[in-house]
């Protein structure tokens, strides 16, 4: 009867064993993320149930969808009482949803080309680190090319417009260095002279390299939303910066003009401005000679969003420490240089989320033009499509499609802005 006096001592290494099944792979993930406590387990099961409940309702609706009938009643005949979407309306009215009901069908390629070119033109600005600077000339030329593609007419019209701006820039570069005012007013005068002369030439040769003209009234569908969104966002950013700087200016008159403008525009609902653009202006304009409706709407939306962007950027300017301004001054930079090289790059970076917020909101607000009888995507759905005998009553499919299109664009903008913020991050990690 000997008692073991030695403690148990293992003499060889145990082979490595895989972790217990509850600690690896999917099981571990489930336990940690979904069933970590009783409360969480209940929530998980409840969420799965809710998800299943939604999918159970939506999935057959999606997969049973009918794509080829020519009216809602035929959809119902095909479905025989089963659950299913009537996507035929999207198939039949596809072009109307994208281009409106009056854009000539044989010309659909032109706005499509303008849309594709938009990506090429925007790339040098959006991905300025990847693309060389001189490609910005493509971006600068884009608005004129896009105008020519979408509206048609002689190429002389956009060409003269571009020449006028080039002339103004040339004069400003030449004289602006010595005297800002001389350069500015000289530039404006040069542009006006070029436009006046060019206008005469363009009037004289309306068929020079002309595409078939399409009137503004014929624009519609998602194309109209894109036109308004892209133009107004890109215009309101520079105007917003100027307004924000103006509001912080020491020059009393400029400051008060900017304050009044911003406060007035912010105090008025966008829809009121749109009614002014559509209805009130019509009383002052001579009958028959209508000042282009899209242009009126673009001016109003741009004014509206530049007031908002100005306030966002003012927030960015205010967030910069005073030392940055003083540092710029101590380097001997003048106002323009200080703003361009030191203040604005930082202020704009801070303002990115706010600016994107305004841009996304603005893009969605372009659907408001449907109340002044313009046929944007929502206007097309609410008016002609739901107003037709064949498709009256198809709500989910149409508005779901509109929501999808807007989501794609808005989510894209949002993702880009987050990527941009990461690119521009210079603070300590």
């Amino acid at each position: 009867m000997t008692r073991a006096t030695e403690a148990f001592v293992r003499h060889q290494m145990l082979p490595q064993v895989p972790p217990p099944s509850s600690q690896t792979g999917i099981v571990k993930w489930l336990r940690e993320n979904l069933f970590s406590s009783i409360g969480n387990s209940i929530l998980t099961i409840a969420s799965f149930f809710a998800l299943w409940w939604v999918l159970d309702a939506v999935w057959p609706w999606l997969t049973n969808g009918v794509w080829t009938t020519s009216s809602l009643s035929q959809c119902r005949e095909v479905l025989q009482g089963e659950v299913g979407a009537c996507f035929s309306v999207l198939a039949e009215r596809w072009n109307q949803l994208l281009f409106g009901f009056k854009y000539p069908a044989e010309l659909y390629g032109r706005p499509t080309a303008a849309f594709l070119l938009l990506f090429i033109a925007a790339a040098p600005v959006l991905f300025f680190k990847t693309f060389p600077r001189h490609l910005l000339i493509v971006t600068a030329a884009y608005p004129f090319v896009a105008y020519w593609f979408i509206w048609g007419g002689s190429i002389l019209v956009p060409a003269v417009a571009a020449l006028g701006i080039l002339g103004a820039m040339f004069v400003f570069k030449k004289y602006g260095n010595q005297n800002f005012a001389t350069g500015l007013f000289g530039g404006i005068a040069a542009a006006l002279v070029i436009w006046w002369l060019g206008g005469k030439i363009a009037d004289a040769m309306p068929n020079f390299l002309a595409l078939q003209e399409v009137a503004s009234r014929d624009m519609g569908g998602f194309m109209l939303n894109m036109i308004l969104g892209v133009v107004c966002v890109s215009l309101s950013l520079p105007f917003g910066i100027l307004l924000a700087l103006g509001r912080r200016s020491d020059m009393l008159i400029i400051k008060w003009i900017c304050v009044l403008f911003i406060e007035f525009i912010r105090g008025v609902p966008l829809i009121t401005l749109l009614f002014v653009a559509n209805v009130v202006l019509a009383y002052f304009l001579p009958p028959g000679t209508s000042f282009d409706l899209i242009l009126r709407v673009i001016i109003m939306i741009t004014m509206f969003s530049s007031a908002y962007i100005a306030e966002v950027i003012r927030g960015g300017l205010a967030a910069l420490p005073k030392g940055q301004y003083e540092a710029a001054d101590s380097l001997g930079l003048d106002y323009a240089q200080a703003m361009r090289l030191i203040i604005l790059p930082q202020a704009l970076k801070i303002s990115i989320p706010g600016i994107v917020n305004v841009a996304v909101g603005l893009f969605k607000d372009t659907t408001l033009v449907s109340v002044i009888s313009m046929f944007d995507l929502v206007g097309m759905i609410r008016g002609p499509i739901l107003g037709s005998t064949a498709w009256n009553g198809v709500y989910w499919e149409l508005f779901g499609f509109a929501a999808l299109l807007f989501f794609v664009v808005c989510y894209g903008i949002s993702q880009y802005s987050q990527w941009l913020e990461r690119q521009l991050r210079t603070d300590h990690l």
């Binding site: 809602l72 009643s73 119902r76 039949e92 009215r93 109307q96 009901f101 009056k102 069908a105 006006l192 006046w196 009614f275 559509n278 209805v279 019509a282 009383y283 304009l285 001579p286 009958p287 028959g288 000679t289 209508s290 449907s370 109340v371 002044i372 009888s373 046929f375 206007g379 609410r382 008016g383 002609p384 499509i385 739901l386 107003g387 037709s388 005998t389 009256n392 009553g393 709500y395």
Partner: protein, 339 residues
Amino acid sequence: MKKSVLLGAMTVAGLAAGAAAAGTLDDVKARGKLNCGVTTGLVGFAAPDANGNWDGFDVGVCRAVAAAVFGDPTAVEFVPTTGKTRFTALASGEIDMLARNTTWTFSRDTDLKFDFVGVNYYDGQGFMVPKALGVSSAKELNGATVCIQTGTTTELNLADFFRSNNITYTPVPIETNAEALQQYLAGACDAYTTDASGLAASRATFEAPGDHIVLPEIISKEPLGPLVRHGDNDWGDIVRWTLNALIAAEELGITSANVAELSAAPTSNPEINRLLGTEGELGKMVGLDNAWAKNAIAAVGNYGEVFEKNIGANTAIGLARGLNAQWTDGGLLYTPPFR
């Protein structure tokens, strides 16, 4: 340069205003197109199809006027207007006439300075109920919940109707027509009330339209008609008598099918002859070709044909003629004579 543009624009404005005063008909003829205001889309009354061609009951009036003026029913520029933009569009001269299911009321005719040239559809507020409710008259709706669009005259009419009949109801106020229909179908209310034509159009979109009925009571007057600006009575006459011509054509038995035959040579009925221009000079009196009415009828058909094609019993909307029958059939359509 800016100043000169401004001055030029003002000069043009002055000239154009002068020209507008000279006569809408001359403007329309010079333009080669009739600018006709329509809705942005209302089932059966006006909507563009998949190819962008406008069609509908109100569109028929526009096409008839264009045919009367130009002999060409396609010489129309349809200007879609919303309920909010329609009157300014007409007042500012953007459109020459408005055919947009607009109710003829005192204030619109006088204060807004328009002229309603007639009535092309007698509408009125009605009720829709599920058949299962077992109600056959609106007076049996005592204690019912009623879905109603807020901020419309229908709200007031409803209150008046129930009070004068000494019965009670619970209103369920709802913002839009689409939302109201969803609520009604979900059973949130026993009855839905709006214009009878709207009820019929909505009912047509239901999965089982047969399960719902529109009650016979009409509790308000909504005479819908085309209108023009005050101040140009010659143009108003053209629109008024084009509409009357369509109504008279139905009364006289002229259809788009037989109009060519009837207008080829004078018939035994002098009124048909005068209307179709084979006798007398009616067209000259309004400054149009003598075949104006013939062209209008040939283009769109008589009133009954327009009605049947767009909103009649055989369409999805399935409206009965009701008040919109000829006076000889117990309706309200009664055109003054053509002589």
